[in-house]
C-alpha cells in the first residue's frame, strides 16, 4: 500500500480543517471497507486519511421525535441491531445488512456507502426511498442535502473540499408507509449488486397507493429515483396491471452498462422483476401498519 498521512480528529471542526487544508487528496475514513480496498489497488492515492470515528456522535443512533439520526460512521451491524429502526424502516435495515459479509458489516457505514458513490451501493436506493437527508459539515458551516443529491457519478459526489457527512437523518415513516429493498446477485452473498431496488409506499385506508418512491441501483451512473415507476403505483392497488406497468417503467429508466457483473439486457430485465417483487413486499408491509 502506498504511504500516506493519518489523523484522527476529535471534533467536527478539526476534521473540516484537516480535510480543507490538505494540499493533496484527503479522504474520510469511517468503516474503511471501500477506502482500504481502493488504497491497496492504487485506485486512490490520497495524501491524507482523516479518521472520523473518534468524533463524538459520528458513531451511534439516536431517535428524535420525527427522525432517526444515524452517525455517519456507524457500522452496519449497529444499524441492523437497532430494533426501533428495523421496525420503522425494515427495507433500509435489510439493505444495510446486505452490504458484504458479517465482517464488512462490523465496519461499513451508511455515509461511506453513500460517498463511495458506487452505482451499485446497496444501502443507497433504500435510504433515498426513505427520504434520507444528510447533514454535512464543511468550511462554510453545516448544510443539509437529500441523499440522492450526494452521488453525482461513479466515485463522484457533490461534496466540496473540506466537507464531510456528519449524520444521516431518516424521517419517521408516516402512517401506512413502509419500505422494502431487494438486490440481485449471482451467488447468495458477497457480490456487488447487479441490480438493486428500494421502494417506499404510503397507502390509504383502502389499500390504494397515495405516495411512492422507487429507486433503482446499478442500472445508471448513480442510483436513480424513477418518478414514472412511482406514478405507475400512485392511485392504484398492486394488481397484475399495476405490476406490469411498474415493471415496464422500471425497465425504461435503466441506463446500465455491460460490465463484468451484468449485461445491459440482463440488468434491464431484472430491474423490472425486482421492482415487482419489492413493491409486493412494501405494499404488504404498509398494509399491515
Amino acid at each position: 500500500m502506498p504511504r500516506l498521512n493519518f489523523t484522527a480528529p476529535t471534533t467536527v471542526e478539526e476534521a473540516v480543517r484537516a480535510l480543507a487544508g490538505a494540499p493533496g487528496l484527503a479522504k474520510v475514513l469511517s468503516g474503511g471497507t471501500d477506502l482500504l480496498v481502493q488504497l491497496r489497488s492504487g485506485r486512490l492515492r490520497p495524501e491524507l486519511i482523516v479518521d472520523t470515528k473518534r468524533i463524538p456522535g459520528l458513531i451511534g443512533i439516536r431517535e428524535e421525535e420525527d427522525a432517526f439520526v444515524i452517525g455517519a460512521a456507524t457500522p452496519g451491524a449497529m444499524i441492523s441491531a437497532c430494533e426501533p429502526l428495523a421496525r420503522a424502516w425494515p427495507g433500509v435495515v435489510e439493505a444495510v445488512d446486505l452490504i458484504g459479509s458479517v465482517q464488512i458489516q462490523g465496519r461499513a457505514s451508511l455515509a461511506g456507502n453513500l460517498c463511495n458513490a458506487s452505482p451499485a451501493a446497496d444501502s443507497v436506493p433504500a435510504i433515498i426511498a426513505a427520504r434520507a437527508v444528510c447533514v454535512i459539515a464543511g468550511p462554510q458551516g453545516r448544510r443539509e442535502a437529500p441523499a440522492e443529491a450526494i452521488p453525482t457519478g461513479p466515485g463522484q459526489t457533490s461534496l466540496k473540499k473540506g466537507e464531510f457527512i456528519v449524520e444521516i437523518r431518516l424521517p419517521k415513516p408516516r402512517p401506512r408507509e413502509a419500505d422494502a429493498y431487494l438486490r440481485f446477485i449471482p451467488r447468495t452473498e458477497m457480490d456487488i449488486a447487479v441490480v438493486g431496488c428500494g421502494i417506499c409506499v404510503r397507502l390509504d385506508a383502502h389499500g390504494l397507493c397515495r405516495d411512492a418512491r422507487v429507486v433503482l441501483g446499478a442500472v445508471a451512473p448513480t442510483p436513480i429515483l424513477v418518478p414514472e415507476a412511482a406514478e405507475a403505483l400512485i392511485g392504484h392497488r398492486l394488481d397484475a396491471e399495476t405490476l406490469s406497468r411498474l415493471d415496464a417503467a422500471a425497465r425504461r429508466a435503466c441506463r446500465p452498462i455491460n460490465d463484468k457483473r451484468g449485461t445491459i439486457e440482463f440488468r434491464t430485465k431484472v430491474a423490472g422483476v425486482l421492482a415487482r417483487r419489492v413493491a409486493a413486499i412494501a405494499f404488504e408491509r404498509a398494509g399491515e401498519r
Partner: protein
Amino acid sequence: MTFVGPKENLKVVGTRPIRPDGVDKVTGRAAFGADMVMPGMLWGKIKRSPHAHARILSINCDKALALPGVKAVVTRADFPDVPPELAYIGEAPANLRDLSRNCMAKGKVLYEGHAVAAVAATSPAIAEEALDLIAVEYEVLPHVLDVEAAMAPDAPVLHEDVFTLGVDPKPTKPSNIAKRIQFVKGDVEKGFAEADVIIARRYTTKPVHQAYIEPHACVVSVASDGQCTIWSSSQGQFMVRGYTARIVGADIASIRAIPAEIGGGFGGKTIVYLEPVAYMLSKKAGRPVKMVMSREEVFRATGPTSGAVVEVKLGAKRDGRLTAAQAVLKYQSGAFPGSPINQGCTCAFAMYDIPNAVVTGYDVLCNRPKVAAYRAPGAPIASFGVESCVDELARELGIDPLALREKNAAKDGAKAVHGPTWVNIGYVATLEAAKASEHLKSPLGPNQGRGIASGYWHNAGGESSAAVHVNEDGTVTVTGGHPDIGGSRASMAMMVAEVLGVAYERVRPIVGDTAAIGFSAVTGGSRVTFAGGMAMTRAAEKVVEELKRRAAIMWDISPEAVEWRDGKAYPAGANAGSFEPLTLAQIAAKAARTGGPISAEVQLNAQGQGPGFATHICDVEVDRETGRVKILRYTAIQDVGRAIHPSYVEGQMQGGVTQGIGWALNEEYIYDQNGRLENPGFLDYRVPVASDLPMIATVIVEVPNPRHPFGARGCGEVPIVPPMAAVANAIADALGVRLRDLPMSPPKVLAAIDAAAPLAAAAE
C-alpha cells in the same frame, strides 16, 4: 504382506482419529509459506507486464537501485539460459526453458502479469515504490485470448519456434497450435453408420483458477558459498528444489527445500513462480528474501486451467448401446505449450465401453498465464461435454440417463479408448449405488430438476520415499516426503500404526524436507495415499521384520520362530519356546544392545494405481425470472478402493464437488479487449460461499485396488469431474433448456429461458 480383505480385521485404518497437525491449525500456530521470518530478511516484489503481448525493448533499473532500502534488483539478464529439456519433476513434464521464461520473461511478455523484473528491499512499501521506479519500454503486439481465435491461421503467433507437433507433413509455419494428438479405437465411420440415432453438440468452457486461499509465498536464503534454504508452501519440496536448481543453474544438493504447511494447491502449486526469483534476489543481496504474492498477482500471473471447446458426437442404437463416439477437444495452454489435453482426451470416454471411437485434442497457445494443473487436469472439461451429451442422447432416446450409462458402462476386461484394458474398476458399483440412493427417489417441485453425471480419473503412482523410526520409548516417528494438503499425514500414521499393531497416538508423522527424506514426487495426481502410503507401509513392514529379529536375539532363538501380532513379538508356536510377548516399547528400550537404532527407509516408484470412478446426483431449482440457479441437494458417490480415513475421503469429495459447482455456475476469467484481466479478486471471481450450498452427501464405495496394501485408490481428483455436467443436466431437467457454455451464470440461463419461451408457448 497385503491387507486387502475384510475391513473388520483392521483396527486403525478406516477409523476417524484427529489429525496430528490439527491443533496447530485450529490455533493459528501452523506455519504456512508467508509465516516464516529469517534474520535480516528483505521483502521481494515483482514488476509485471501490463500488456498481454509485447516485446521488451528495454528495462532501466537505475532509479530503483538508487532508492534507499533497495538491496537488489534482478531481470532476465541475471538468469542463465536453460535448454528446452523436459523435466519430470512436477506433476506433468515441464519444459524447463519455458518454466524459466515464465518465472522471468525473456525478450517478450506473453500475458498481462508476466514477470519482467524484481526487487528486494527492507520493507514491503519500499519494494513497491522501487517497482514504480523501474522503467520498462514495450512494443505492444496484437494479442489473442480465445482458443479458436488462437488457432486461426492469421492469429498473432506467440512463439516463432513452435510448430504443431503430431501433424503430418511437418508444418513449416509457426503456429499457436503446439500439438495435435489423437486416440483411435475401432472404426468410427462404420460405427456411426450402424447408429440409429446420432447427436453432435458443441460445448465451451472458460478458464477457471484453482483459487486456493493461500497466495504463493516463500522465503529463500542463499549464502555466499551458494548453500541455499528455501522455505515455501508447495505441493512438492523436491519439485521446488529441482526446478529452482535448474532455473538458477545451481547444484541440486546445494538447495534444501523445506515444505511449509500449504494453504491449498489443487495442482496450482506443483510448479514454481517465486522461488527462483527470490533465489536470485537473495544471492545478489546477500540476505534472505521473502516473497508473497498478492491475490491480484495470483489471478493475473499464475496458471488457471484451460478455457476450451469440446465437440462431441455420439451414435447409438435405439436400445441405448453406443456404437460410436467422437470428441474434438481444443484446450488453451496459455503462454507456453502444455495444457492437460492428453488427460482430457484419455478421460473423455473412460466411463464407457464403446467399440469405435476417435478423440482428437489440440494444445493451443494464447496470451494468458501458462495453465497449471487443476484437480484432475483436463478431465472436468472433457466430461462436461461428454456427460452433457450422454444426457442429451438419453433424452433423445427416451432412456433414463442412469440406465443408459449402465448399458454402456466400462467394466473389468473392457478396453478403454486410449488403450489399456480395465482391471479391478468400480464404475458399475457407483451406478448401482446411485440407483439405490434415497436421493434418486425423492420428489421434485416446480422449477426443480435433477441431473446425473459420471466421472473418471486415472490417479497416479510414482516416486515416494518414507522412513519409519522406532524411538527409544517405543513411540514411532514416520517421515514422509509429501506435503499434506488434505489430511494425508493422518493416513500415513494410520497405515503405519496398523502394520505395527500400535495405537495411532503412538505414531507421529512429519513431512520431511529435501535433506531429511528421499526423493518424493509431488502431492498431486491423487497419489499420496497410494504411493506415499505404499512406501510407508513397506517401511513399516521392514521395521516389523527388524523387530522380530531383535526379539529373536533377546530370546536367543531363530528369527523365523518369531511372529508379530497386535504390536508384540510372540514366539511362533510352542516349539519356539515359552517366552512372554515383547512389546514394541520393550524391544525399543533394548535396541542399542541388540544392534542399534531400529529404522527403515523405503524408496519406490509405485505402480498399479487404481483408477477412480464416480457418479453424482444434483438437484437444482431455477428462478425463471432471473436465471439464478440454486443447488438444492447433491450426492457424490465414488469408488475409493479403501477409505483409510473416511472423514478426509469425504472431505475430498465435498471439496471437489464444490469447486465443480463453482466452475459450473459462476467462475470465469473476464478479460477486456486489451487482454487485461478484469476480475483478479474474490469479489468478481465468484467461488461458492457457505450460503450457496447445501450439505453435500457422500457415498463411499470400496472396490479395493489389490495393488495397494490396504486397497486404496486415489480419491482427491475424481470428485471435480462430474459436477459441471451434473448441474447442466439438472438445469436441463428443470427448464427443458440446455446450456452448453460455462459458466451457467444467471444472464446466460435467463437468455436461454427467454430464447426458448416462444417455443414453449407454441408447444402449449
